[in-house]
Every structure is written in structure tokens, then in C-alpha cells.
């Protein structure tokens, strides 16, 4: 893409990100039990994947054979994906005003029952292993689709993740891209105060992964690096460490070690929405 085209795309994606943020806040208003802070740290990741020509998908043919598989292993943070899926035609946009109500199939955590969602999520540490199995199946069928997984950095405490890290490198799954939403906060504290595994990059390198680290809120960096990792079939599974801020853009959440479990009330959300307008 030429420079002007690229700038236009980034501008378009930034506008989309603004819209997704507003919709996410509106969802949080009707469903305060949704995890807002966690959903905001990975917002640009979702926008880049779906609108930035990274993911190959077809919302009218959910199990389209050539779709890239995207697994939301950090289930709690995926409320910001709902507006995107609705916008892309996976389900009606009206569903966004019903999240977590009795009329809705959209819960606080996206499950396999939702169009566009591949697996059962909410329990951490499963996504990468399941993705490895999918990646092997795709390779065997000579399907060039790629498997993307979104995990949280706190999720790396689950031992099963490391079983899958070893496994996917051994099997040279270069059609597998793990994105870590490195927002540095678990439920109760900063990860660094619980078990500090930073820098995580060299752990993955030691297991033979190809690793890239970027600013996870910079859409241009996200798009360029995701595209590079997607297309680079060099015999290594890929890790993208996306450095992010939990609760990005919301002063009541940013920097609060307990922001994972923090909800905003209606007035607070209305104020933020007004400001964003």
C-alpha cells in the first residue's frame, strides 16, 4: 500500500477504535459486570485484526474453510469485540443493547455459541493448546489460514500455556500467532508484584518462538507487525507482545491495580461518552 493509502487506513481504523470504545462503554452501562478495563487494553488489537486487513473472515459463512481462526483466550476482555462482530454482520447491531440480559446470547464472556467465536472461553490457559491442534489440522490439510490467539499476560501463570508453548515450537507451527495483551495487571495486583516473569520475550525465544514487541495501542504498529507475523512462514510460532494499559483512556481505571474488577457507574460513563463525542 502507498503512503497515502496507509495513512487513510490508519485514520479509518482510529475512527473505528473510537466507535468501538463508545460502544464498549454503552455495553458496560447496561452490563456493569462486564470487565471494562480488560476490554479496553485489547481494543486496538481487535480493531487492527478485523478492520486492518489482517484476519480473513466471512461473517455469512461462519465455518468458512479459509477463514483465519481467532481464539479469544482472555475471555474477560472481549466485550470490546462485540461491537466489531455486530458491525461486520456476525449478528444484529441491536444485540449490543441487550448484552447480559435474558434476551441475549451475548454474555460477559464470549462463548462458542456466539457467531464468530471459535471456542469456549472464560477459563484461562486453554486457547493456545486448542489453537495448536487447529494449526496442525490446517497444515495437514494444506490450508494456508492462520490461527491467532489473544491471551492476557496474567494468563501466562496457567501451566497449560507452557505445555502448549513447548508443543507448538516443537511442531514448527508457523501458522500460529499468539498476541499477549500485556496490560501488566491481574485481578488483585500488578503481575510484577505477584510473580514477575518479565521480560516475557526471552522465555518464548528460549522455546524457539519468533518474538516481536510493540505498543499495543498503536494501530499502525499493530497492523504492520501482525501482517508481517502472519505471512512469515519460517518454521517458528509467533509471539506478539502488545504493551498496553489496562483501562486505557479512562482515568478512573488507568493505573489502578484493582481496575480489573472495577465498574463505572452510569454518570461516569455518560460523562466519558460526552467527552468522546
Amino acid at each position: 500500500m502507498n503512503d497515502t493509502g496507509n495513512k487513510d487506513l490508519i485514520k479509518y481504523l482510529s475512527k473505528k477504535a473510537q466507535w468501538v470504545m463508545k460502544e464498549t462503554l454503552r455495553i458496560h452501562k447496561i452490563a456493569p459486570e462486564t470487565r471494562l478495563a480488560s476490554s479496553l487494553s485489547c481494543l486496538e488489537i481487535f480493531v487492527s485484526l478485523y478492520y486492518g486487513n489482517i484476519l480473513r473472515f466471512n461473517s455469512e459463512n461462519l465455518l468458512w474453510n479459509n477463514r483465519d481462526r481467532f481464539i479469544i483466550s482472555k475471555g474477560h476482555g472481549a466485550v470490546s469485540l462485540y461491537p466489531i462482530l455486530a458491525d461486520l454482520g456476525y449478528f444484529s447491531i441491536d444485540e449490543l443493547s441487550k448484552v447480559c440480559t435474558k434476551e441475549s446470547f451475548l454474555g460477559g464472556i464470549p462463548d462458542i455459541i456466539i457467531p464468530g467465536i471459535e471456542t469456549t472461553n472464560g477459563s484461562l490457559g486453554h486457547g493456545l493448546g486448542v489453537a495448536s491442534g487447529i494449526a496442525i489440522a490446517l497444515k495437514r490439510r494444506k490450508n494456508d489460514a492462520v490461527v491467532f490467539v489473544l491471551s492476557g499476560d496474567g494468563e501466562l501463570y496457567e501451566g497449560s500455556v507452557w505445555e502448549a508453548i513447548m508443543f507448538s515450537a516443537e511442531h514448527k507451527l508457523d501458522n500460529l500467532v499468539l498476541i499477549i495483551d500485556n496490560n501488566k495487571i491481574c485481578m488483585l495486583d500488578y503481575c510484577a508484584n505477584i510473580i514477575d516473569i518479565s521480560p516475557v520475550e526471552n522465555k518464548f525465544s528460549a522455546f524457539n518462538w519468533e518474538v516481536r514487541t510493540i505498543d499495543g495501542h498503536n494501530i499502525e504498529e499493530l497492523c504492520n507487525t501482525l501482517l508481517y507475523l502472519k505471512n512469515n512462514r519460517n518454521g517458528h510460532p509467533k509471539l506478539l507482545v502488545a504493551n498496553t494499559t489496562k483501562g486505557k483512556g479512562i482515568k478512573q481505571l488507568e493505573g489502578d491495580r484493582l481496575c480489573h474488577i472495577k465498574s463505572l457507574n452510569e454518570n461516569e460513563i455518560n460523562e466519558i461518552l460526552e467527552r468522546l463525542e
Binding site: 462463548d111 462458542i112 455459541i113 471459535e118 471456542t119 469456549t120 472464560g122 477459563s123 490457559g125 486453554h126 493456545l128 493448546g129 486448542v130 489453537a131 495448536s132 491442534g133 487447529i134 494449526a135 496442525i136 489440522a137 490446517l138 495437514r140 490439510r141 501451566g159 497449560s160 505445555e163 502448549a164 513447548m166 508443543f167 511442531h171
Partner: protein, 313 residues
């Protein structure tokens, strides 16, 4: 009765080899557990055989991924570690997901009950019937001999939901010399018709039940090989003919095993039959020795079963 002794795993894997030769969409993955019959699959279907290492959680997760892409997957490991180390993976990725999308993962657990007799309580598997029966969208298969295990190969490719195959670790003689696949859906078989008392057992204990039934005239024996699903109406119709029912299993008592299955069925139908149950009380087993010796210690050997029958009648 044939006396051919064979392990369930070898018989099943031999049958599966034949399927894999004609069906390219079958994967066999193991958590570093082998079997003599498995060598042929490893050798002849290299690209459909994976050893994930000693990593049962990943075994189930990788199996799920393959199955979501349409493969029939056989995931093979030591029974207690497969079912209990990876239980949450089984629940989340198999039981829950298969309610929405087909997930044909066949968990083959080797070492039912006290199969690994001298390896101590970590290797004993006295909980698996209860915990696997608990999961929605699951089949739980507990064969007593290798012929029925081999018949299950066909069923496992046709019924595309997750399954747990609970195989004994030891080579056992044949009980079903005339099993045919139409019997599979009942989930049980009345091996001996009695008149007053019936033994109900599963897996290895069906051998003990049959031996004990030879000692007391008119004792019936029912082998339950599908703990889920099974033909509940037909099983009840069979059970209600008996005044006394004695359930026998290598499992903890009153905890969701075969005894609970029978009790629920009797209660639901307001049956008049009286149920007694033999199994393990609420303690793990640290003893060593032969399986028969452990059965003597815990009141599950042939003599103990005979004495329990006599007490009833």
C-alpha cells in the same frame, strides 16, 4: 467361552488401525503412553500420530483443536491423569463446546480401577466413573473384555460427541463371545439370568461377578458397559425382576459411580428391589500385592461377593 486373553487397548488400537488405513481423517495422540499395538500406527501413520509428551492438559486441548477442524481424535493416556489432571480441559473444551459444535474426541484412559495395582493411590482410578458420568454431552464406556472394546471402534467413529473409554490395564479373558454391535446402544447385557438376586458390575469386576455367580445357583449377572448413555427403560425392566441387586465396582461407594446409577434408576421407578453395593469406602488404597489380594482386603474378591449374595438371600 473363549480363553483368549488380551488387553482392551491392543484390541481397540488394532481395530482403529484398520479404520485409519481407510480414513485419512483420524488422529491418534498420546501423552507418552504406549501399547504393543500402537507401534504400527506410529510407524504407518506418522503424520497422524502425535506424542504430546507427559502433558495431559495439552493432550486434551490439542485433541480439541484437531476435532474442531473435523478430525476424529483418539487421545490416549493413563486413566487417572487423563481424567483428573485434565478434567477442566475436558469439561470446557469437550463437554461444553460439543453442545454447540461436533467434537469427536475419544479419551482412552488405560488403568481403570486398580489396574495399576502396585503403583499406589496416584495410579488407582476409583473416581473416574463418577466424574466422567457427570459431564453433559459425553459417552462413558467401561468394557469388561477386549471383544466389546473392539466393537466400540465402529461406534466411536459414528457417534461424534466426546467419549471416555475406560480400559483395564491388564489382559483379560473374553466374556462376550457373541457380542454384536446392535447390543451397544442398550449399554448393558444380562450375561446370566438369575431368579432372586442379580449382580450388577462394570469393567474388571464383571469377571469377579461371573465367578461368584457360579458359586451360588440362580444368581444373575448384568454387565453395564455404557455408563452413559444407556437404555434406562430396558435396564430397569431387567432389574425389577430381581428382589435383590448387588452392585460391584472398583470405585468409591455412594459417590456417583455404578451404585449411584443403579440407585437413581430404582428410585426413579419406585422399585421394590433392594440394592446393596460393594466398592471402596471413603479411603484411598495404600496396600500392595496382587489385585485379588487387594480385593480380599477391601471385600471385593470372589469370596466376599459370594458371602454378600448369601447374606441377601
Amino acid at each position: 467361552m473363549k480363553v483368549t486373553v488380551k488387553t482392551m487397548r491392543d484390541a481397540f488400537i488394532e481395530g482403529l488401525y484398520g479404520k485409519m488405513a481407510h480414513n485419512d481423517d483420524i488422529f491418534f495422540i498420546t501423552a507418552d503412553l504406549g501399547a504393543p499395538a500402537l507401534d504400527r500406527i506410529r510407524h504407518d501413520f506418522k503424520d497422524r500420530f502425535i506424542n504430546v509428551g507427559i502433558a495431559e492438559q495439552n493432550l486434551v486441548n490439542v485433541a480439541t483443536g484437531l476435532a474442531l477442524e473435523g478430525y476424529a481424535v483418539y487421545a490416549y493416556a493413563i486413566a487417572p491423569f487423563l481424567t483428573m489432571r485434565a478434567y477442566e480441559q475436558i469439561r470446557t473444551n469437550l463437554s461444553i463446546s460439543s453442545q454447540i459444535r461436533p467434537v469427536n474426541v475419544n479419551l482412552i484412559g488405560v488403568g481403570a480401577g486398580l489396574s495399576y495395582v502396585v503403583s499406589g493411590p496416584t495410579h488407582h482410578c476409583l473416581e473416574d466413573i463418577a466424574i466422567m458420568r457427570l459431564l453433559p454431552n459425553f459417552v462413558v464406556f467401561s468394557p469388561c473384555d477386549w471383544t466389546i472394546a473392539q466393537h466400540f471402534v465402529q461406534y466411536s467413529t459414528e457417534v461424534k460427541i466426546p467419549k471416555y473409554l475406560r480400559f483395564d490395564g491388564k489382559a483379560l479373558p473374553v466374556i462376550y463371545d457373541k457380542f454384536d454391535s446392535s447390543m451397544m446402544e442398550d449399554g448393558f447385557c444380562e450375561l446370566l439370568k438369575g431368579c432372586n438376586i442379580c449382580l450388577v458390575s462394570t469393567g474388571y469386576m464383571t469377571h469377579v461377578a461371573l465367578a461368584a455367580a457360579q458359586k451360588v445357583k440362580n444368581t444373575g449377572v448384568i454387565d453395564v458397559f455404557l455408563l452413559k448413555p444407556f437404555n434406562a427403560v430396558k435396564l430397569y425392566e431387567t432389574l425389577k425382576e430381581y428382589e435383590y441387586i448387588l452392585s460391584i465396582e472398583e470405585a468409591f461407594l455412594n459417590s456417583g459411580g455404578l451404585d449411584s446409577l443403579i440407585l437413581n434408576l430404582l428410585n426413579k421407578n419406585r422399585a421394590l428391589s433392594k440394592l446393596k453395593s460393594l466398592g471402596f469406602k471413603d479411603n484411598h488404597v495404600f496396600n500392595h500385592g496382587s489385585r485379588d489380594y487387594l480385593h480380599q482386603v477391601y471385600g471385593l474378591d470372589e469370596e466376599a461377593v459370594v458371602s454378600a449374595i448369601r447374606k441377601c438371600v
